[in-house]
Assembly symmetry: C2
Amino acid sequence: MRVNLLYDFYGNLLTAKQRECLELYYQDDLSLAEIADNSEISRQGVHDLIKRAVKSLEKAEQKLGLVARFMAQEKYFQRLKEILSQREITEEDRREALAIVEKLLE
Amino acid sequence: MRVNLLYDFYGNLLTAKQRECLELYYQDDLSLAEIADNSEISRQGVHDLIKRAVKSLEKAEQKLGLVARFMAQEKYFQRLKEILSQREITEEDRREALAIVEKLLE
Protein backbone atom coordinates (compact mmCIF):
# COMPACT_ATOMS: atom_id res chain seq x y z
CA MET A 1 0.00 0.00 0.00
CA ARG A 2 2.66 2.49 1.08
CA VAL A 3 5.05 1.16 -1.55
CA ASN A 4 2.40 1.63 -4.22
CA LEU A 5 1.90 5.24 -3.17
CA LEU A 6 5.66 5.86 -3.10
CA TYR A 7 5.89 4.19 -6.50
CA ASP A 8 3.19 6.45 -7.95
CA PHE A 9 5.15 9.52 -6.95
CA TYR A 10 8.74 8.45 -7.41
CA GLY A 11 8.66 5.44 -9.72
CA ASN A 12 10.21 7.47 -12.51
CA LEU A 13 13.34 7.94 -10.45
CA LEU A 14 14.02 4.19 -10.62
CA THR A 15 15.62 2.17 -13.40
CA ALA A 16 13.40 0.31 -15.86
CA LYS A 17 14.46 -3.02 -14.31
CA GLN A 18 13.60 -1.83 -10.80
CA ARG A 19 10.21 -0.58 -11.98
CA GLU A 20 9.50 -3.89 -13.69
CA CYS A 21 10.30 -5.95 -10.59
CA LEU A 22 8.34 -3.68 -8.25
CA GLU A 23 5.28 -3.87 -10.48
CA LEU A 24 5.44 -7.65 -10.72
CA TYR A 25 5.89 -7.97 -6.98
CA TYR A 26 3.60 -5.31 -5.51
CA GLN A 27 0.96 -4.86 -8.18
CA ASP A 28 0.78 -8.24 -9.89
CA ASP A 29 1.51 -10.18 -6.68
CA LEU A 30 4.07 -12.50 -8.21
CA SER A 31 6.46 -14.27 -5.83
CA LEU A 32 10.20 -13.62 -5.84
CA ALA A 33 10.72 -17.10 -7.34
CA GLU A 34 8.24 -16.39 -10.15
CA ILE A 35 9.90 -13.08 -10.96
CA ALA A 36 13.31 -14.77 -10.94
CA ASP A 37 12.05 -17.47 -13.32
CA ASN A 38 11.00 -14.84 -15.83
CA SER A 39 14.20 -12.82 -15.70
CA GLU A 40 17.94 -13.36 -15.81
CA ILE A 41 18.33 -12.82 -12.06
CA SER A 42 18.35 -15.25 -9.15
CA ARG A 43 15.65 -15.23 -6.48
CA GLN A 44 18.10 -13.57 -4.10
CA GLY A 45 18.98 -11.04 -6.80
CA VAL A 46 15.33 -10.12 -7.25
CA HIS A 47 14.96 -9.80 -3.49
CA ASP A 48 17.95 -7.43 -3.24
CA LEU A 49 16.86 -5.41 -6.25
CA ILE A 50 13.38 -4.86 -4.80
CA LYS A 51 14.81 -3.99 -1.40
CA ARG A 52 17.17 -1.43 -2.90
CA ALA A 53 14.39 0.03 -5.05
CA VAL A 54 12.08 0.49 -2.06
CA LYS A 55 14.95 2.11 -0.18
CA SER A 56 15.41 4.56 -3.05
CA LEU A 57 11.71 5.40 -2.97
CA GLU A 58 11.81 5.99 0.79
CA LYS A 59 14.89 8.17 0.39
CA ALA A 60 13.13 10.28 -2.23
CA GLU A 61 10.16 10.67 0.12
CA GLN A 62 12.49 11.71 2.93
CA LYS A 63 13.87 14.44 0.69
CA LEU A 64 10.73 15.58 -1.12
CA GLY A 65 7.87 14.52 1.16
CA LEU A 66 5.31 14.29 -1.65
CA VAL A 67 3.40 11.37 -0.18
CA ALA A 68 3.08 13.08 3.20
CA ARG A 69 1.91 16.26 1.48
CA PHE A 70 -0.53 14.35 -0.70
CA MET A 71 -2.05 12.64 2.32
CA ALA A 72 -2.39 15.94 4.18
CA GLN A 73 -3.97 17.61 1.15
CA GLU A 74 -6.36 14.76 0.53
CA LYS A 75 -8.23 15.54 3.76
CA TYR A 76 -8.68 19.12 2.62
CA PHE A 77 -9.91 18.04 -0.78
CA GLN A 78 -12.41 15.66 0.81
CA ARG A 79 -13.71 18.48 2.99
CA LEU A 80 -14.01 20.78 -0.04
CA LYS A 81 -15.93 18.07 -1.86
CA GLU A 82 -18.24 17.68 1.10
CA ILE A 83 -18.98 21.40 1.26
CA LEU A 84 -19.47 21.78 -2.48
CA SER A 85 -21.73 18.75 -2.66
CA GLN A 86 -24.37 20.55 -0.62
CA ARG A 87 -27.11 22.19 -2.66
CA GLU A 88 -27.18 25.13 -0.29
CA ILE A 89 -23.80 26.30 0.96
CA THR A 90 -23.94 28.25 4.22
CA GLU A 91 -21.85 31.39 4.63
CA GLU A 92 -19.76 29.59 7.24
CA ASP A 93 -19.02 26.69 4.90
CA ARG A 94 -18.22 29.05 2.04
CA ARG A 95 -15.64 30.81 4.20
CA GLU A 96 -14.17 27.51 5.32
CA ALA A 97 -13.89 26.33 1.71
CA LEU A 98 -12.24 29.58 0.67
CA ALA A 99 -9.75 29.30 3.54
CA ILE A 100 -8.90 25.74 2.46
CA VAL A 101 -8.30 26.82 -1.13
CA GLU A 102 -6.06 29.65 0.03
CA LYS A 103 -4.13 27.22 2.20
CA LEU A 104 -3.70 24.79 -0.67
CA LEU A 105 -2.52 27.62 -2.91
CA GLU A 106 0.41 28.43 -0.59
CA MET B 1 12.10 32.46 -12.02
CA ARG B 2 11.94 28.92 -13.40
CA VAL B 3 15.03 27.95 -11.45
CA ASN B 4 13.47 29.24 -8.25
CA LEU B 5 10.37 27.14 -8.87
CA LEU B 6 12.46 24.07 -9.66
CA TYR B 7 14.50 24.79 -6.55
CA ASP B 8 11.38 24.97 -4.38
CA PHE B 9 10.35 21.52 -5.49
CA TYR B 10 13.63 19.69 -5.88
CA GLY B 11 16.18 21.68 -3.86
CA ASN B 12 16.38 18.90 -1.28
CA LEU B 13 17.76 16.56 -3.92
CA LEU B 14 20.89 18.71 -4.22
CA THR B 15 23.96 18.77 -2.01
CA ALA B 16 24.30 21.42 0.70
CA LYS B 17 27.01 23.16 -1.34
CA GLN B 18 24.86 23.24 -4.47
CA ARG B 19 21.93 24.63 -2.51
CA GLU B 20 24.12 27.31 -0.98
CA CYS B 21 25.46 28.48 -4.34
CA LEU B 22 22.06 28.46 -6.02
CA GLU B 23 20.58 30.54 -3.23
CA LEU B 24 23.39 33.09 -3.35
CA TYR B 25 23.14 33.32 -7.13
CA TYR B 26 19.42 33.18 -7.84
CA GLN B 27 17.84 34.48 -4.64
CA ASP B 28 20.45 36.87 -3.24
CA ASP B 29 21.63 37.98 -6.68
CA LEU B 30 25.34 37.69 -5.93
CA SER B 31 27.72 37.48 -8.90
CA LEU B 32 29.81 34.39 -9.62
CA ALA B 33 32.90 36.33 -8.55
CA GLU B 34 31.30 37.35 -5.25
CA ILE B 35 30.27 33.77 -4.52
CA ALA B 36 33.77 32.56 -5.38
CA ASP B 37 35.31 35.16 -3.03
CA ASN B 38 33.25 33.81 -0.14
CA SER B 39 33.99 30.16 -0.76
CA GLU B 40 36.91 27.90 -1.48
CA ILE B 41 36.05 27.57 -5.16
CA SER B 42 37.19 29.51 -8.23
CA ARG B 43 34.77 31.64 -10.26
CA GLN B 44 34.78 28.94 -12.95
CA GLY B 45 34.18 26.31 -10.27
CA VAL B 46 31.13 28.17 -9.00
CA HIS B 47 29.88 28.52 -12.56
CA ASP B 48 30.20 24.79 -13.21
CA LEU B 49 28.67 23.88 -9.88
CA ILE B 50 25.61 26.04 -10.52
CA LYS B 51 25.27 24.73 -14.07
CA ARG B 52 25.36 21.13 -12.86
CA ALA B 53 22.90 21.86 -10.06
CA VAL B 54 20.38 23.43 -12.47
CA LYS B 55 20.80 20.44 -14.77
CA SER B 56 20.00 18.12 -11.84
CA LEU B 57 16.87 20.14 -11.09
CA GLU B 58 15.75 19.99 -14.72
CA LYS B 59 16.39 16.25 -14.79
CA ALA B 60 14.26 15.77 -11.67
CA GLU B 61 11.48 17.78 -13.31
CA GLN B 62 11.74 15.65 -16.45
CA LYS B 63 11.22 12.56 -14.32
CA LEU B 64 8.66 13.80 -11.80
CA GLY B 65 6.98 16.78 -13.52
CA LEU B 66 5.99 18.49 -10.27
CA VAL B 67 6.46 22.02 -11.57
CA ALA B 68 4.33 21.34 -14.62
CA ARG B 69 1.65 19.80 -12.44
CA PHE B 70 1.81 22.66 -9.97
CA MET B 71 1.35 25.20 -12.75
CA ALA B 72 -1.60 23.30 -14.20
CA GLN B 73 -3.22 22.99 -10.76
CA GLU B 74 -2.69 26.62 -9.91
CA LYS B 75 -5.19 27.67 -12.57
CA TYR B 76 -7.79 25.39 -11.04
CA PHE B 77 -7.11 26.72 -7.56
CA GLN B 78 -7.45 30.29 -8.79
CA ARG B 79 -10.80 29.46 -10.37
CA LEU B 80 -11.97 27.79 -7.13
CA LYS B 81 -10.92 30.87 -5.21
CA GLU B 82 -12.84 33.07 -7.64
CA ILE B 83 -16.00 31.01 -7.27
CA LEU B 84 -15.79 30.75 -3.50
CA SER B 85 -15.12 34.47 -3.12
CA GLN B 86 -18.60 35.27 -4.37
CA ARG B 87 -21.15 35.92 -1.64
CA GLU B 88 -23.80 34.12 -3.66
CA ILE B 89 -22.65 31.00 -5.49
CA THR B 90 -24.83 30.03 -8.44
CA GLU B 91 -25.76 26.41 -8.99
CA GLU B 92 -23.64 26.41 -12.15
CA ASP B 93 -20.58 27.69 -10.30
CA ARG B 94 -21.09 25.21 -7.48
CA ARG B 95 -21.11 22.35 -9.98
CA GLU B 96 -18.01 23.70 -11.70
CA ALA B 97 -16.19 23.99 -8.36
CA LEU B 98 -17.16 20.45 -7.41
CA ALA B 99 -15.94 19.14 -10.77
CA ILE B 100 -12.60 20.92 -10.24
CA VAL B 101 -12.17 19.41 -6.76
CA GLU B 102 -12.95 15.96 -8.13
CA LYS B 103 -10.41 16.47 -10.89
CA LEU B 104 -7.76 17.60 -8.40
CA LEU B 105 -8.47 14.57 -6.21
CA GLU B 106 -7.61 12.14 -9.01
